[in-house]
């Protein structure tokens, strides 16, 4: 009797659950059914997931425009975290692997593209939504990096790196250094050694702020410049072999970072962490390396109080390409068609120019780069610096840096050694050895 009762009850529970599941499946199938029709009856919501500090991808105004024009396809713009390698990417991979959690459109930094390309099972083929037609918009390298190992298009480019130095005019004034951007650029026109010298002059006068923000910002600036001189590779060669110990670009960037740290010019703040963000507000540093997208990080993090106190000068040591991202549609998206349309809009010349206006993110789209508005653009936050003139000429000649499949995890670990060295837990003498070991361990 007891057994029968129990079995009966369990059967009842099971049948209720099956019914519930049936309803859910019915729901979701009707959902996709209606959404693929031209005028969906109900509103669907797309989630756009990005990363980065400040204004990050600079999509606020673009998303507002989209939402106003598409009442039935609303976009939720969700910037998850400041840090790509440490937080965003591991979490995203976990979501992609488990089949749930990722948004409908997700941002992928250059450092993650190697792995993303090698996992065709994670992302939707954008070719089936007609995005192949966008090829002419992009430089060849930006386009080709969006093709996965099966040759299918899975991601379209957003922005590119470009390089400059952002500096605080008020702090420069306090140190008796020139504040005009042309004179500041001239200050270190001879290269990085001049930059260090300027830093020492600065530090001699100013005690409560440091010359540069963090060791890993300046390291990445130099690494991207050196990579361009060494076959456009950093931690991996083009056969996915780890070359962290052999690539002269890495060693040069490491040595320079070590030098600037030993000279006492760093604020010892790791970039894209809370103390670093606080450092902007507390004026703990006077300069930082600024790829185009970093302008938005600065303005968004430091806030309106520091508007007009920042300016942009040219970078010592020539151009470099640090950063730049792509957008992709995870396979798990319930509305891949609408997601692909959103992705198409955000990476369009119009969307990229809106992002450029909002955050300074330099467009990768050729029509956007050729837009006369971009060439003449100034940035009010950075004392009306002519950013179109500063970045414009270089963005078309940017060299693509090859980044291996495991780039993000190697980058994360080796930069942690740099931070340890800067903050005193790794002695300078042992740092290079530890740096290589960390890279080798992370590459597994």
């Amino acid at each position: 009797m007891m057994n029968n009762m129990r079995r009966g009850r369990m059967l009842a529970v099971a049948s209720v659950m099956t019914a519930a599941l049936g309803i859910t499946t019915a729901c979701s199938s009707s959902d996709t059914g209606s959404s693929s029709s031209p005028a969906p009856a109900e509103t669907i919501t797309l989630t756009l997931q990005t990363f980065g500090g400040g204004t990050n991808f600079g999509y606020k105004s673009a998303v507002e425009k989209w939402n106003a024009e598409h009442p039935n396809v609303q976009v939720k713009y969700n910037n998850l975290t400041d840090s790509f390698e440490n937080v965003y990417w591991p979490q995203m991979l976990q979501w992609l692997q488990s089949g749930t959690g990722a948004g409908d459109v997700v941002g992928v930094d250059e450092g993650g593209m190697g792995l993303a390309k090698a996992r065709p099972q994670f992302f939707t083929d954008l070719g089936q939504y007609g995005l192949q037609s966008r090829q002419a918009d992009f430089p060849a390298w930006k386009w080709e990096n969006g093709l996965n190992s099966e040759g299918k298009l899975f991601a379209l480019g957003t922005d590119v790196g470009g390089m400059s130095i952002c500096y605080r005019t008020d702090l420069f004034k306090k140190a008796g250094l020139p504040t005009d951007r042309d004179e500041v650029s001239k200050l270190w026109s001879g290269g990085w050694d001049d930059f260090v010298k300027a830093g020492q002059d600065f530090q001699a006068k100013v005690k409560d702020a440091k010359f540069v923000d963090s060791i890993n910002t300046i390291y990445n600036v130099v690494l991207s410049q050196e990579a361009a001189k060494n076959g456009n590779v950093t931690y991996f060669d083009k056969n996915q072999q780890l070359i962290v110990d052999k690539n002269p670009a890495v060693k040069t960037a490491f040595d320079f970072s070590s030098k600037i740290s030993q000279a006492g010019l760093t604020a010892k703040l790791q970039n894209f962490t809370d103390p670093w963000s606080t450092g902007f507000v507390k004026s703990q540093f006077a300069t930082l390396g600024c790829p185009g997208w970093m302008l938005g990080v600065v303005s968004g993090t430091a806030g309106d109080r520091f508007k007009g106190k920042w300016d942009v000068a040219t970078v010592p040591g020539g151009g470099g390409n640090w950063g730049g991202s792509w957008l992709a549609v995870p396979k798990q998206s319930k509305h891949p068609k609408q997601a692909a349309e959103l992705l198409n809009f955000l990476t369009s010349p119009e969307g990229q120019l809106m992002a450029f206006k909002e955050g300074g993110n330099l467009p990768s789209s050729i029509p956007a780069q050729d837009n006369p508005g971009l060439q003449s653009a100034t940035n009010a936050y950075f004392s009306d610096a002519p950013i179109g003139k500063i970045f414009g000429p270089s963005i078309k000649s940017l060299q693509p840096t090859f980044l291996g499949e495991k780039h993000a995890q190697v980058k994360r670990e080796v930069e942690q050694v740099l931070n340890g060295m800067d903050q005193g837990s790794v002695p300078y003498g042992q740092a290079w050895q530890k740096f290589i070991e960390a890279g080798q361990k992370a590459a597994g």
Binding site: M1, M2, N3, N4, M5, R6, G8, T81, S83, N86, V87, P90, L93, Q94, L96, Q97, L115, A118, R119, Q121, F122, K268, T273, D274, P275, T278, G279, K282, Q284, Q409, R412, E413, Q416, V417, N419, G420, M421, Q423, G424, S425, V426, K441, A442, G444
Partner: protein, 326 residues
């Protein structure tokens, strides 16, 4: 089911004797026997079913995964036997995490339980606003671990932290970078743990103390025992089972410490540049979900499990001697 019910109900309560009913009576006896024997198991079964699904299955699955080279980010799994374990036992980073975990555990738990004991003893006395104080010590437990960790991380900030500011008044000009050394990071994390759990343990001790018969104390005071002597000779031995319980719980909690050090490392899993405060739980997550070596992480999880069993066993032999009566 309804048919079955119907026949049972149709059966009249006092069965009239007769040879024809014999079969029915033995079936009734069977069911009433079943009722007596099976019902208790049935009633407690939800726990065991849930435990099997959420406790036992993951445990066994983890063991299975730990014997493979299992990549999380779309890699293939292949059986490697005990390779993960042998690699792990030779991995200096794993042992570093073990040392950190045990170090933070000792630094946190010993003062915590001692303090809790003192606190409980004080709260057990007659004092004004007793309920207020008893609730007060429990208050930290209500706050979320992450909130506690975030606030403490601010307090331990290098440049603008409260503790460095206070130390400045005491003449420590140098800003301590709490994260960068083992001793300072351990202290900071241990203080977070203690802030949250001391009151909890105090309340459990208090509950234990209240079960001690009053007349024991009366007899002791008639014999002229001081209150200190009463504490060591009556209170402590009498609440030994409670102490054993809290030591077990703290051991498990301490060895699986995760949220506090992660928040302290601003969401990173490596616990500082040289892993100064990376705990085993962080190491597992780092291996599994940062480096995507799922099999390796599973092996580390199993070693942690064994370590906890060991830790609990060692602590049990220590704590059993409390009071020293036997």
């Amino acid at each position: 089911m309804s048919v079955n019910l119907h026949t049972e109900r149709a059966d009249p309560a006092p069965p009239p004797p007769g040879p024809g009913r014999h079969h029915s009576r033995s079936s009734r006896r069977f069911w009433s026997q079943m009722d007596l024997k099976a019902t208790p198991y049935f009633l407690i079964s939800p726990y065991f079913i849930l435990f099997a699904i959420f406790g036992l299955f993951p445990l066994v699955f983890t063991l299975w995964v730990s014997l493979q080279d299992y990549g999380l980010a779309g890699g293939d799994a292949s059986f490697t036997g005990l390779k993960n374990y042998t690699k792990l036992l030779a991995d200096a980073d794993f042992w570093n995490a073990v040392i950190n975990t045990v170090g933070i555990f000792a630094l946190a738990t010993v003062p915590q339980l001692f303090l809790a004991l003192m606190l409980a003893n004080a709260l057990n006395k007659r004092l004004r606003g007793r309920l207020f104080f008893r609730l007060g010590v429990l208050l930290p437990l209500v706050t979320s671990v992450v909130a506690v960790a975030i606030v403490f991380t601010q307090l331990y900030g290098r440049d603008f932290g409260l503790f460095n500011w206070l130390l400045g008044f005491l003449g420590v000009d140098h800003h301590i970078d709490w994260q960068s050394a083992k001793w300072s990071s351990w202290t900071a994390i241990a203080s977070m743990v203690d802030w949250r759990w001391t009151g909890y343990n105090a309340i459990i001790y208090l509950a234990g103390m209240q079960t001690i018969p009053r007349d024991l104390y009366e007899a002791a005071s008639i014999d002229g025992a001081s209150s200190r002597r009463q504490f060591w000779s009556i209170t402590l031995p009498m609440i030994r089972p409670t102490i054993i319980f809290t030591v077990f719980v703290s051991t498990i909690g301490g060895l699986t410490l995760f949220a506090e050090p992660v928040m302290f490392a601003s969401n990173r899993m490596d616990g500082g540049a040289t892993g100064q405060f990376q705990t085993i739980a962080m190491y597992i997550v780092e291996q599994g979900f940062r480096n995507f070596d799922y099999g390796y992480a599973a092996a580390a999880a199993w070693l942690l499990f064994i370590l906890i069993l060991l830790g609990v066993g060692i602590n049990y032999t220590f704590v059993r001697r409390i009071g020293g009566s036997k």
